[in-house]
């Protein structure tokens, strides 16, 4: 299946796990206009992301992320989208919206430790004691 990779702000480099799974795929990064207009971030942050995206993505866009990605999917003639997992609720909503129009494959993000499904977190110390054994 012709696959494209959506790079986002949690995974913005050639090392992105979805991109490593699909090294031949084209990739896109979108500056989300509605979010940025509301968040009012400093330009330094935007430019830092731009410098990351310039190196990482084949195409950069500005606009409403889901609409821009779907337009890119059409322009590129893609059949599937691959993306690295993010904990962000906004990212989850976007993936749900994208799935209504295109097949989306979610690739796990790179972690320092593996956190089991449903792991009950209270404080860092027990978390690291349980899961960080490789690093102590």
């Amino acid at each position: 299946m012709k696959t494209g990779v959506w790079l986002h702000g949690d995974s913005l480099s050639k090392r992105d796990p979805a991109l490593r799974n699909h090294p031949e795929a084209r990739s896109v990064f979108v500056f989300d206009r509605p979010f940025l207009e509301k968040a009012g971030l400093s330009f330094k942050r935007i430019f830092f992301l731009y410098e990351c995206a310039v190196e990482a993505a084949d195409e950069m866009r500005v606009g409403e992320t889901v609409e821009e990605i779907l337009d890119w999917v059409r322009c590129e003639g893609l059949e599937m989208l691959a993306v690295t997992e993010s904990p962000s609720p906004r990212w989850r909503e976007m993936v749900e919206r994208l799935r209504q129009k295109v097949e989306v494959k979610v690739v796990p993000a790179e972690g320092m430790v593996t956190v089991p499904e449903g792991y009950p977190v209270k404080r860092f110390t027990p978390f690291w004691k349980d899961l960080g054994k490789e690093w102590v």
Binding site: K14, S42, F47, C52, V62
Partner: protein, 262 residues
């Protein structure tokens, strides 16, 4: 809309981007500048290669200590968190310094995991505060604070560095947050928003939950500091040129009595 790749120097590229994205950042277009910290994996790998973990544990709390300044690359996945940990392991082996550094990386994964569990719940008090706090209704921090005009050199310089570069040392973040929440009795959400706006490594979970850690809504006790703490950790130069009546010049029991007595 396709965003072009701008050509020329960093400054010229920044001008092009500022024009293309007007209305999507907080400064006026003519005041939009790039940070001294360069984005992208090439710059991230250079920074990783330069970082030496020796002395990290003993100096990381000092303003001029041996900290990695890799946080903005890790936050945006430009460097993988495991990639960074393994690089330190391969180059320096296991040592007290390395273990402390890995633990700090572990915090980032901890925050990320909580974000996955709680989503936007990170913006609500996770627990009842352990000390009296302000009512937390402010949308923004007062102008005199965000413009660096409090007269307290340590706080004003922290703000100046944050706004000019997009980065401040973790200890300076903690002092500033404690000053906002406990000395000024401002809500942590306004401070969180200010940091998120400017920090190149601004991450929703790490930022919001660290503010809650200082406030004591996600920790066992409130985080306090005093003048001695600032001076011991590299802030003597600030104190030397400060003419304000120092609100931090007291012992911890005295500060607790002053700030937390109902």
């Amino acid at each position: 809309m396709i965003l072009p790749k701008f050509t020329g120097s960093r400054e010229e590229q920044a001008r092009g981007l500022a024009k293309a994205m007007v209305g999507m950042y907080c400064e006026k277009m003519e005041e939009a500048r790039e940070s001294l910290y360069v984005g992208g994996r090439t710059a991230g790998l250079e920074a990783l290669e330069k970082f030496r973990v020796q002395t990290y544990a003993g100096t990381r709390n000092k303003l001029k200590g041996n900290v990695s300044r890799l946080s903005f690359y890790i936050r945006h996945g430009v460097l993988g968190i495991r990639e960074v940990a393994e690089s330190v392991q391969e180059r320096f082996g296991k040592s007290y310094d390395a273990i402390k550094f890995w633990q700090e990386l572990g915090w980032r994964q901890f925050w990320r995991h909580l974000y996955g569990l709680w989503g936007d719940g990170i913006y609500k008090d996770r627990e009842a505060a352990k000390v009296p706090l302000g009512n937390g209704t402010e949308e923004e921090l007062p102008a005199e604070i965000v413009e660096g005009r409090t007269g307290l050199v340590c706080m004003d310089e922290t703000v100046r560095e944050l706004v000019e570069t997009g980065y401040i040392h973790n200890h300076a973040r903690m002092w500033f947050a404690s000053f906002m929440v406990h000395f000024r009795k401002l809500g942590w959400k306004a401070g969180e928003k200010f940091f998120y706006r400017h920090l190149l490594d601004g991450d929703p979970a790490s930022n919001a939950l660290s503010w809650q850690w200082v406030a004591s809504t996600f920790s066992h006790r409130a985080y306090l500091f005093n003048r001695e703490n600032i001076q011991e950790n590299g802030g003597k130069e600030w104190c030397a040129r400060c003419t304000a009546k120092c609100p931090f010049d007291a012992t911890y029991p005295e500060l607790e009595r002053r700030l937390f007595s109902k």
